[in-house]
C-alpha cells in the first residue's frame, strides 16, 4: 500500500442555533491518500487480490487514528472512498465494503452496526459528505448526521482517498422524537 498523505480533521462545535452546548460536540475524520492499487491495469475482473493486499492495512491504519483524534468514545461512525478520475468507483468500494476494513473500526470502538458510507469519483479537492450513524443501533435518530470533508490536492487521477469518521455524540441540539414514537 502506497500512502502519499494522511489528513486529520477535528471539529469542535460550541454553539448551535445560537445556544451554547452543554459540552462541545466533537467529530473527527482521518483520511489516507493512497495510490489506486488497480491504477494503469485496465479493467481488472478480479479485485480480490487487491482487496486482500490493502483493505485490512487501511482499516488498521485509520481506525486507531480517528479514535485518537476524537479524544472521546465514539457514538457514531461512517466511512468514505473517493476515487480519482482514472479509477472506478468499484475500486474504492472494494477497499471499504469488506469486513477486513470495517472490523478494525468496529472492534476498536466496540461497535456492531454497518458503517454508512459515501463512494464518489472526482477531481482533487472534491467535496464529499461522510454519513454517520450510531455504532450499535443504526435506528437511533439523534445520531444520524454527516460531515463535510475536502482534501486539497487529492485524489489525483490514479489515487483513492479512504476515510473514517467518528462522532462523540449525536447532532448538536438534537431534539427529534425517536423512531419508536412513530411505530
Amino acid at each position: 500500500m502506497n500512502v502519499r498523505r494522511i489528513v486529520t480533521v477535528v471539529e469542535e462545535i460550541r454553539t448551535e442555533g445560537g445556544r451554547a452546548l452543554e459540552r462541545p460536540a466533537r467529530i473527527a475524520v482521518v483520511a489516507a491518500v493512497i495510490e489506486n492499487p488497480w491504477a494503469g491495469q485496465g479493467f481488472v475482473e478480479d479485485l480480490h487480490p487487491g482487496i486482500e493486499a490493502n483493505a485490512s492495512d487501511l482499516g488498521a491504519l485509520l481506525a486507531p487514528a480517528v479514535l485518537e483524534a476524537l479524544e472521546a468514545p465514539a457514538e457514531a461512525y461512517g466511512k468514505a472512498a473517493i476515487v480519482g478520475l482514472d479509477g472506478e468507483i468499484e475500486h474504492g468500494s472494494a477497499l471499504i465494503h469488506t469486513l477486513k476494513f470495517g472490523d478494525h473500526f468496529r472492534k476498536a470502538a466496540n461497535a456492531t452496526t454497518l458503517l454508512p458510507a459515501v463512494e464518489k469519483r472526482g477531481p482533487a479537492g472534491v467535496v464529499f459528505d461522510i454519513p454517520l450513524k450510531h455504532i450499535t443501533d443504526a435506528t437511533i435518530r439523534s445520531h444520524h448526521q454527516s460531515f463535510e470533508v475536502r482534501v486539497g490536492d487529492a485524489p489525483h487521477p490514479n489515487e483513492i482517498v479512504i476515510a473514517l469518521a467518528a462522532a462523540a455524540q449525536g447532532r448538536p441540539q438534537q431534539r427529534l422524537a425517536p423512531l419508536s414514537t412513530e411505530q
Binding site: N2, V3, R4, R5, I6, V7, T8, V9, V10, E11, E12, I13, R14, T15, E16, A20, E22, R23, P24, A72, V127, E148, R150, G152
Partner: protein
C-alpha cells in the same frame, strides 16, 4: 472535558473550532528526508463590529477577543503537532463574512493582542506571515507559513489550506493560526547564502 463555565465561548461569540492536519509520507514518489506535519486551526466567532461603520474604533473588542483566540488556537496547534518544540514555521489568517469589513479581520490578527501572543505561545521571533479575505461560507483560504525564528529560511516557505464548510456566515469571522514541523517535502531551491547575485547587469539576457 472542560466545564461550561470555564469556556470563553459566550464572551467571544465562539461557534466552533476546526483542526486540519496533514502529513506528507511520499511526494513525487519518494519519502521526504524530514516528513513535516502541517496544521491549521480555525475559530468561528461572531463579528463584534457588525453595523458599526468605518469610523468606529476597534480596539476595545480587539483587546478582549484576540488574546483568547491566540490561546485557543495555539493550544490546539501545539497539541496537534506534538509540542511547541516541534513547530518550526507559522502563519495566520482570517476570513470575514460578507457583512463585515476586511478591517475587522485585520483587527483580530494584525495587532499585538493576537500576533505577539501567537509568537510567544509558539516560541517564535519572526513576523508572522498572513492571508485574509472576505468571503461566503466554505471559501478555501491558502495560509502562508514561514520559519518562526528565521523568516528568510527558504526551505520553510510553504502553505496550508484552511476551510470551514459552513463559515463564515455573513455576520461571522473565521480566525486561523497555522504551523508546520518542518520544510517542504523535497526542498532544493537554495537559500540566500548560496544564491548568485542577480541583477539586470548580471544576466546575459535582460528581460524586456
Amino acid at each position: 472535558m472542560q466545564e461550561r463555565k470555564e469556556r470563553p465561548d459566550e464572551s467571544i461569540g465562539l461557534r466552533k473550532l476546526v483542526l486540519y492536519r496533514d502529513v506528507v509520507l511520499t511526494e513525487a514518489g519518494e519519502t521526504p528526508a524530514q516528513p513535516a506535519w502541517r496544521a491549521s486551526v480555525a475559530a468561528v466567532i461572531r463579528n463584534p463590529w457588525l453595523g458599526t461603520g468605518p469610523s468606529a474604533g476597534l480596539s476595545a473588542e480587539q483587546g478582549h477577543i484576540a488574546p483568547v483566540l491566540a490561546k485557543l488556537l495555539t493550544d490546539r496547534l501545539i497539541a496537534a503537532l506534538g509540542g511547541v518544540d516541534e513547530i518550526e514555521s507559522f502563519g495566520k489568517a482570517a476570513i470575514v463574512g460578507t457583512a463585515g469589513e476586511i478591517e475587522h479581520a485585520g483587527a483580530l490578527i494584525h495587532t499585538p493582542y493576537f500576533g505577539n501572543l501567537v509568537r510567544e505561545f509558539l516560541q517564535g521571533e519572526s513576523i508572522i506571515c498572513f492571508a485574509d479575505t472576505r468571503a461566503e461560507a466554505g471559501e478555501t483560504l491558502i495560509v502562508p507559513l514561514w520559519h518562526k525564528t528565521h523568516a528568510a529560511t527558504r526551505s520553510h516557505y510553504q502553505t496550508i489550506s484552511a476551510r470551514v464548510p459552513d463559515a463564515p456566515r455573513a455576520d461571522e469571522i473565521v480566525v486561523i493560526a497555522a504551523a508546520s514541523t518542518g520544510p517542504r517535502p523535497h526542498p532544493r531551491i537554495g537559500d540566500r547564502m548560496s544564491d548568485p547575485v542577480v541583477t539586470t547587469q548580471s544576466l546575459e539576457a535582460v528581460p524586456s
